[in-house]
């Protein structure tokens, strides 16, 4: 059977190919770097539950990323859409033992934009052949 007759669903690694393509697409668009602030696991002690001991956090740099300023909320607060490459995000998530990247992003404290920490309100992803290619984050002031 000629290779062109093989259904796309049977081509091994096809998802990885699109993931690399998405990564290069973001780099072509400028490929800036964004900072994601992650909360460290809480100690769960009484002081943290009473709001006495602040949660510690760490900042993680992620590139390539594309930032779109989108329509503000009704109250005028700014909104951003950040597009992240799954190829770039995967090794970082792996280093934290994360399996569900979307949930992990939602549980972060937010992304930095022009010196302000903006909490992430929504995370969606674009996948092909069961492989995530792009993550879309919506963050607000």
């Amino acid at each position: 059977m000629p290779e062109t007759d093989i259904p796309i669903s049977m081509v091994p690694g096809r998802g990885q190919a699109l993931r690399r393509h998405a990564d290069s697409y973001l780099r072509a668009l400028g490929g800036r770097q964004i900072t994601l602030r992650l909360a460290d696991p809480s100690s769960g002690d009484t002081s943290s539950q009473l709001g006495i001991t602040p949660p510690t956090s760490e900042d993680v740099q992620i590139a390539p990323a594309v930032v779109h300023v989108i329509n503000p909320n009704d109250d005028g607060t700014r909104r951003l859409q950040v597009v992240l490459s799954a190829k770039a995000l995967q090794p970082i998530a792996d280093s934290y033992g994360v399996t569900d990247i979307a949930t992990w992003l939602m549980q972060s404290q937010g992304v930095f934009y022009r010196g302000r920490l903006m909490p992430i309100r929504e995370v969606t992803s674009n996948s092909f052949a069961d492989v995530e290619c792009l993550y879309f984050l919506t963050a607000t002031e």
Binding site: A39, P41, S42, T46, Q49, L50, G51, T53, M106
Partner: protein, 163 residues
């Protein structure tokens, strides 16, 4: 006032651990009893979790203006559930009843020692706080959630050298 809030929360938390040790939540990677003071959570916290009790502190005022310095402060305990996936959410009502039972259980007896937790450990302040019996609101049916609010009035003597 802060000591009153902290003492009330810690007492209810410890009672919840005793009466329903399985009722836990995981926040920021830490598993803890499923009772939370809303004002102690970060502003970036997500929406309230299901099957957890959230304490919201309200107004405070003199309890008996002509009779002394005792004050009263409102506390609303809110919670909601959407049942379990295994039961397709049909057990929402039973889940809410279970939460109701836990709230009743942890609110009795309606008093505890007042402690100062500002140093990170409990320092007994030598007085007690006490509270009214819980008043349960009507069900709030907002599919897929079923929830309720419970009002409790907490009485305490303010201590001027306390935060």
């Amino acid at each position: 006032m802060q000591a009153t809030k902290d003492s009330f929360y810690v007492e209810l938390r410890d009672r919840l651990t005793a009466v329903d040790p399985q009722r836990t939540i995981t926040i920021d990677g830490a598993t803890r009893p499923a009772i939370v003071v809303a004002e102690n959570e970060p502003p970036t916290a997500g929406p309230p979790l299901c099957d957890a009790l959230y304490l919201h502190w309200g107004a405070a005022r003199p309890a008996l203006p002509a009779a002394g310095t005792m004050m009263e402060m409102e506390c609303v305990i809110s919670y909601r559930t959407k049942g379990t996936e295994a039961n397709a959410g049909l057990d929402r009502g039973r889940g809410l009843a279970s939460l109701d039972t836990d709230v009743l259980a942890i609110c009795l007896p309606p008093q505890t020692e007042k402690c100062d937790y500002s140093s990170g450990t409990a320092a007994d302040l030598g007085s007690t706080i006490f509270w009214s019996l819980p008043v349960f609101s009507s069900l709030v049916n907002a599919p897929p959630y079923l929830g309720r609010e419970v009002s409790v009035t907490v009485f305490f003597y303010p201590e001027v050298n306390q935060p």
